[in-house]
Amino acid sequence: MFGGLGRLYPVESVGALQAQMITRPTSDRVSESAGRLMAGDRQAWNEAIARHNQRLVVALLARRIRPDRARDLAQEAWTRLMEQQRRGVLLRIELPGLAIRQALFLAQDFLRAESLRQGADESRLLRTPSGEPSVEQRIMSRQMLHRARAMIGSLPPRNREIFELCYDDPHLSHASAAEHLGVSVQHVRQTLCEVRKRLRQLLKETP
């Protein structure tokens, strides 16, 4: 089902693509890239996949999908989007949001189908959501949101700036953010690690 999709982005080209992408201004690159995606430019699609695929995988992992299945579903989502673009049914392409929605839709469909096909015992092995709230539901709970915002607000201003810059703009690489802020890439990554750690602790504490 997903076998032919590896051809879309050979692993060895990903590093080179990312290196190309961080050298250009984000806004120019995004608008130009959207146009090329709408035109069906294969290179543009490969670049988009290289940049955003892990984001799809993480979104699926957060829904308790296994890593191997998450990767398959992410690739299937990209294929569907490309097909939709070829058929001309996409009015505009906003990434990674559109791809994430497609992947989550596929995940729901997949889990439902597997659950029906394999019965209750085996569906447990697929780690279907078992009444446990999704990360979106958890984060959207008022108390959790308040605490998470308070945590972000308590960060030193420079760290908060790094966090907001990197996570508010999904097209910005760590290298571009570091260049923009005049700090090292390592510093950006360490800061984000620290924020992630504190947020992880917060999610763990939240019932």
Partner: protein, 123 residues
């Protein structure tokens, strides 16, 4: 990654997409066979997802605070200006910077009128 479990640093690198393909595959293979690491990956993925969801609202909240602060300063300035204008309308001699010495100096009926206007309680 050590012999027993995947480290937090490796999970961080995985979710933020800085691992190379080989290391990523190794981590995924380990997670598939290790339940504690599977749970750890879930926690990391959730935290990463939450960060993407939090950042826009945090930035918007900070911008809103900045706008409110600017509005408060602007309102304060307007209040001061308004007060000055009101005083000017009521008593032009105050706002126009008429020399108080001139106002205080006995100058016939006009000087008396000015004094009375300035200090009505003393009439």
């Amino acid at each position: 990654m050590n012999d027993s479990h995947v480290s937090d640093e490796s999970f961080d690198a995985y979710v933020s997409d800085v691992l190379d393909a080989a290391a990523r595959a190794l981590l995924e293979a380990h997670v598939a066979a290790c339940e504690p690491c599977e749970h750890a990956l879930l926690r990391h993925a959730r935290a990463e997802q939450a960060m993407y969801e939090l950042a826009p609202s945090c930035r918007a909240a900070r911008r809103a605070t900045a706008v409110l602060r600017t509005c408060a300063i602007a309102a304060g300035l307007l209040a001061v200006l308004g007060l000055g204008w009101a005083l000017h309308s009521k008593n032009p001699s105050l706002a126009q910077g008429v020399d108080r010495a001139d106002a205080m100096r006995p100058a016939g009926d006009a000087g008396v009128a000015a004094l009375l206007d300035l200090a009505p309680d003393h009439q």
